[in-house]
Amino acid sequence: MAAPGSALVVERNARVYRRTWRGSVISTFLNPILYLLAMGLGLGSLVDDGGGSVQLEFEYLNFLAPGLLAAATMMTATGESLYPVMSGMKWNKSYHDALATPITTRDLVLGHFGWVTLRILFTSVVFTGVMVAFGTIEIGIALLVIPPSVLGGLAFAGPVTAYGAQLENETGLSAVFRFVITPLFLFSGTFFPIEQLPDWMEPVAYVTPLWHSVETTRAVALGIDTTWAPAFHYAVMVAFLVAGAVLADRFFHRRLVV
């Protein structure tokens, strides 16, 4: 049976990753450990002593961990959708290369999202494993937080891929982290509930995918309710993914088929 082109693109990325995995695997394991140690245990003991956990109704470490998980898939998805996409278009031109074969731009786009899904799935599995090791979550629940966190990552992969597909130079790459990812990381409920923000900032969090990802991931992890109906949060994330993917498909075609 013939494999669809997008599966062949995923296979290609996996083979390239086999050569370049070392750096990213170390950070995939190390980042959650460092963050949970520093913020969860270090800062967390202050929060808990200061009465923060009473207000949160959970120990700070347990409250924080699912938020960091959602942020981690956002980071991985964003990183995988920026440099590799731009490289494929412009630097090593692997996309141009693939298009000389039966592969189409649609295959490239679907293959890209397929590969990003695998990458953030890996990030999520490792992160939840670390959470289990830290005792913030039970194994059974850990399996349940993987889907919302992966969907949250994909909600970023969509628009970021579309953005990366039409970038002309690398200054636009760091701008994404500087002006989008870092502020979201800090202000989307990862470290504290967004109710702690000034009132005017709260609606900003509502329209960013990370907040919805944090909400759903945390709700599953802690067994609490989401702010709004879970279906609504999931729908927002799916909408970001789909809108981004549709744009990415258009931009890939426009840029590569001239």
Partner: protein, 307 residues
């Protein structure tokens, strides 16, 4: 007569206001080596990309393997071997991995790809570099690897865009040798080049392109016969000597005065030299050579520099 593999009628490619390919007609027959010869910007690469079903046709008709690239792009590319102008290799991967991944794009079974890689590495003389990264390979090796890679699907038609540009003479000749062998195996080749010797060596038929149009078409020999004379006498005059064109009147079919030498285009160099000897002209040296495609090319596309 056999059906052409590629047939173009009034084929055009425009980018906004710029016309890269301007209503050209050509047909490529199975088994032949067909060349697009032309200066930079003549429209050769744009034509190649349309044949390769990666760049949409703006107007006119194009069929490859009797298929329309607009609707059957993947099916066409499945049977093509493409060697682009730049070596688009994955420099972080090894020689083997580059070939393997490319083979997988054609959805070839892994065992088949492994077998073919053995043959192709021998063909490209890269057996010893099998597990080396691509980055440190020489330009000639990368080019051979790119050609080997394009052969992984055993294509019926190969598109080679300036296959030897930037290579040293040894590497060029090694490549020509490989291309000859492909031709002998019955692979149809379409080549773009701006090297006349390459076109003369390799091509059964070629078109000379200039400013998006076809300026002439035929076999190298035919084009030389048609657009140039059999031989050329090159005269070098003493430095500072101003040339009076009329002093060569009647010596040749065509006379071209260049800053450093004067070219006499003639069907008989012996005759011209004899005639020349009768006129007591101050000539430093003479060189007789056969006409080449270069003469045809310069005649048709002019001597001014194209950027």
């Amino acid at each position: 007569m056999t059906e052409p593999l590629v047939r173009a009628t009034n084929l055009s490619k425009r980018f906004g206001d710029f016309t890269a390919v301007d209503s050209i007609d050509f047909a490529v027959r199975p088994g032949e080596v067909f060349g697009f010869l032309g200066p930079n910007g003549a429209g050769k690469s744009s034509t190649m990309k349309m044949i390769g079903a990666v760049s949409p046709v703006t107007s006119g008709e194009l069929s490859v393997f009797d298929l329309d690239p607009a609707t059957h792009g993947s099916a066409i590319r499945y049977r093509l071997g493409v060697v682009p102008q730049e070596n688009l290799l994955d420099t972080e991967l090894t020689v083997f991995e580059n070939l393997f991944i490319y083979g997988r794009y054609f959805d070839l079974p892994k065992s088949v790809i492994r077998e073919r890689i053995d043959e192709l590495l021998a063909f490209a003389q890269l057996e010893e570099r099998r597990h080396d990264l691509v980055d440190p390979l020489s330009g000639g090796m990368k080019r051979r690897l790119t050609i080997a890679r394009a052969l992984i699907n055993q294509p019926d038609l190969m598109l080679l865009d300036e296959p030897t540009t930037g290579l040293d003479p040894q590497a060029r000749h090694a490549l020509w040798d490989r291309l000859y062998r492909l031709k002998q195996q019955g692979v149809t080749l379409i080549i773009t080049t701006h090297y006349m010797d390459e076109a003369e060596q390799l091509c059964d038929r070629l078109v000379i392109m200039d400013k998006g149009q076809i300026a002439a078409e035929g076999s190298p020999r035919y084009l030389i016969d048609r657009h140039a004379t059999r031989e050329v006498v090159e005269l070098r005059l003493p430095v500072g000597h101003s040339v009076d064109e009329t002093q060569f009147d009647g010596l040749a079919k065509r006379i071209e005065v260049l800053p450093d030498r004067t070219l006499l285009y003639t069907d008989s160099a012996d005759r011209t030299l004899l005639d020349l000897a009768e006129r007591t002209l101050d000539i430093e040296s003479t060189v007789v050579r056969r006409s080449t495609l270069e003469d045809v090319f310069l005649r048709l596309t002019g001597r001014s520099l194209v950027d």
